[in-house]
């Protein structure tokens, strides 16, 4: 069917590319120990890109009932006069990755319900507060074909489980996310992490505004990293809206910080040997020992900058938009920060006075291009003399990543899955905290 689509496309244009995705997912959710929902989804879709006389056309559909119509839509869009300076890539020998574990097929909803119940019970006994749990499994298949001979496929299995201990009267929580390619038990360490942080911070405490040490957890590091992702995105380099222009090779962060994109790490779900444009993946250092190393590009922006794609062209859509509806753009889908040398408990002992940001509010507002952040704490755990004494409410932490990330106190010796990547907890010095007293 897809081959036929390529044929039809070739009748009208010089180059054709098809992106097809089929996915199945199933999730169960528990609130306060009660099984609340089980939702499943069976989705598919096709995007088409064509290049004719140096112009790009784009179309998509959910159901390929009318291949001619899909091609016609792409041809119609050529009037957008979108000039491109690239061709679709040619076929290469790709790295073989292990992205699919057939055991995922044996993971029944019943088993996920049992795991959710088990986690709810253990945590609820250990913390004496409301526990929410979500367990999701999914399998997706992506195939990319183009008129230059590329025909790549990848099948991915993924398992995700999160558990959260909720502070009474709110949705603030201490949470941990685990992921794998197949079912993975929530471990003793995961339970202890949530229990330790929640039980020690139960009490609401008052604290004074000022500048102090601030620790971001793996689940809140994204607040900072989001600004870096923006700052190094090839689109923003091309449009000159990032403060990092001309900064390659210079020290932008503390020398203890190394951040890189590694699509080949197939110990976690979603590893990719090729991106959403059929370009071969590669490991890309972004920041090495505090020095800015690379910007990342897709075919479109990479060719505009005369650099070419770095294998980072992905169909990404903010706020969970449907990916087949968008053209690929530069994206860091496999981001990691290198762990440091301190154990988590050692880290806390290093804080004479400061805040642990367990959950952030409003990471998406504020001046992202400039690297500024200003977040509400939900909650902020207050630390004095190396011990968590409680949590503060009505507090905000603000700063600019190009200043804050120059002053690292310590980095945890392990990294964990969070939003936007895999990060260790990190403590920064001298960060501004405003608290309503």
């Amino acid at each position: 069917m897809l081959e036929k689509l390529i044929e039809i496309g070739k009748r009208y244009t010089d180059e054709v590319e098809i992106y097809q995705i089929n996915s199945f997912s199933s999730g169960v959710s528990f609130e306060n120990g009660i099984l609340k929902d089980i939702d499943s989804s069976i989705q598919s879709g096709i995007s088409l890109r064509i290049i004719k006389d140096g112009k790009l056309g784009f179309s998509y559909t959910k159901n390929l009932l009318d291949p001619e119509g899909l091609v016609k839509n792409a041809v119609d869009s050529l009037k957008g006069d979108i000039r491109v300076e690239f061709s679709f890539p040619e076929r290469r020998e790709l790295k073989v990755l292990n992205t699919y574990d057939p055991e995922i097929e044996n993971l029944t909803n019943t088993k996920m319900v049992e795991e959710g119940q088990r986690i709810s019970e253990i945590l609820s006994q250990a913390t004496n507060t409301q526990i929410n749990v979500g367990v999701v499994k999914s399998v997706s298949e992506i195939r990319i074909i183009n008129s230059k001979g590329v025909d790549y496929s990848t099948k991915n299995s993924s398992y995700m489980c999160y558990a959260a201990a909720m502070y009474p009267g709110s949705y603030s929580s201490i949470s941990r996310i685990i992921v794998d390619k197949k079912f993975k038990e929530f471990s003793k360490e995961d339970f202890e992490y949530i229990t330790f942080l929640y039980n020690n911070s139960k009490k609401e405490v008052k604290a004074k505004s000022g500048r102090m040490k601030v620790m971001f957890l793996p689940t809140t590091m994204y607040v900072l990293i989001w600004r870096l992702i923006y700052g190094t995105n090839g689109k923003n380099v091309y449009e000159r809206t990032t403060p990092l222009i001309d900064k390659i090779g210079t020290q932008i962060f503390d020398s203890s910080i190394t951040i890189y994109n590694d699509p080949f790490n197939d110990s976690l779900p979603g590893a990719r040997a090729f991106d959403d444009e059929g370009v071969e993946s590669r490991v890309l250092p972004i920041v090495e020992n505090g020095v800015l190393k690379n910007f990342y590009y897709d075919l479109y922006y990479g060719s505009k900058m005369g650099i070419g794609s770095t294998g980072n062209g992905y169909k990404v859509s903010d706020w969970g938009g449907e990916i087949i509806r968008v053209r690929p753009t530069p994206a860091l889908e496999h981001l990691y920060m290198k762990p440091g040398d301190k154990d988590f408990h050692e880290m806390i002992r290093l804080i004479d006075k400061g805040i642990i940001i367990a959950q952030a509010l409003g990471a998406h507002s504020g001046n992202i291009p400039n690297g500024d952040f200003s977040i509400g704490l939900s909650p902020g755990l207050y630390v004095e003399n190396g011990e968590i004494v409680g949590h503060v409410k009505d507090a905000m932490v603000a700063g600019n990543i190009y200043e804050v990330m120059k002053k690292v106190v310590a980095i945890e010796n392990k990294n964990y899955v969070g939003n936007m990547g895999v990060f260790p907890s990190t403590i920064f010095e001298d960060v501004s905290v405003a608290i309503r007293e």
Binding site: E31, D37, S40, Q43, F58, T61, K62, S77, T110, Y167
Partner: protein, 454 residues
Amino acid sequence: MFDVLRGLISKVSADYVDIRYEKMSETKIVLNNREIFQLGTNTGDGFVVRILKNGGFSSVAFTRIEDAEKALKICLENAELISKNSKKKVRLAEVEVVKDTFIPNLKEDPRAVSIDEKLELLMHYNEIPLKFENITTNMQYTEVVREKYFVSSEGTEIREDLITTGIRGMLISRDGSLVQNVRVGIGGSDGFYRLRNREEEFEKKTKIVLDLLKAEPVIGGVYNVILNPDMTGVFTHEAFGHFSEADLIEDNPSMRERMKIGAKLGNDILTIIDDPTIPNQLGFYKYDDEGVRARRTYLLKDGVLVGRLHSRRTAAEFGEPVTGHCVAEDYRYPPIVRMGNIFIEPKDKSFEELLELLGDGLYILDAKGGQTSGENFTFGAQYAFEVKNGKIGKLLRDINISGNLYKTLMDIVAIGKDFELSEVGGCGKGQLNIRSCHGGPHILVKNVVIGGVK
């Protein structure tokens, strides 16, 4: 279509079944500076089925009609699994059976306007900021036409269309390594006319993004503030609205306890309403995605909690009347409880009176993203002015507000007599709602925490 949908669900043996089919056509033109990045019209479609059996309620979304049988089987199994494993039995509140087709009346149908003309209009507005060399723009035209068909085993059959158009964008200004940005957005759900003759909006925002390069960053601390209608709307949505959504607190006993009907949550002067039925505003719809007719819902009256937003499931659970607020983003999702059009009811103060009452503080304008965790919320503002002795002074940047639900509503001490509703929306509670509308008058709020680097 109704026959097909009826046929699909007729074979299911359960207490209740419904199915929604949606065909969605999306026209999109994306401009980055003067380069067109995307242009075209495309269509997607899909089904969402929900089954209630023995108190277990579950949903499956699927794309292809040939997957219908498999999807229904999975859905039934999931409903039975919930029923077996949950102490709680889901019931759906009684509603009347409806057979209706509702196609909105548009003042100039966007589908009758050629894509060339849309592009031309977008480029015209885009040129206003681009006159300045140090401004970069990302601007897009979006038009979403949703043709929705809903059929339930109770006999309800509804077709309703939702047609949303908008031009929204980001203006980014640069001076050396300092980067500032503001958002601009126009549009609505009642026709293309809203996008014509709006140059003023783009001129105003262009001036602000340039002025921000010279503005001082706000100093972090606690301030008394006046919010403009857009900020009032986002504030109402974030600080209070989400916790009027019954599904969010249904299984959170401690929140539920605090959000009891009759609870005094706000100052006596504060009345908050959600009303999707007001014509010609972004959030308008006649029926929600469970086939329930939307109705004006008082949430807070004179500071007292008098109602909340419901799905059929939560209305039964709380023993409160249905409100018609269960809405899905598109064919990929089952509906969830959502605000339609939430606002603070205007009162009696003129803007000058509010300034006088404020004395010293900040005048904060135009929201820029917010988030809530129940008790606490934050949201950003695009810009603010210092106010001294009731006089508006210098421009300030980097404004982010944080507050506490249980305190802030008491701190609203004066309410203006003007009224304005938002033209573009985007609430991201699990799914994106581009028609999430909000607004109100200017309001005066005491003791607001503003984050700042200084």
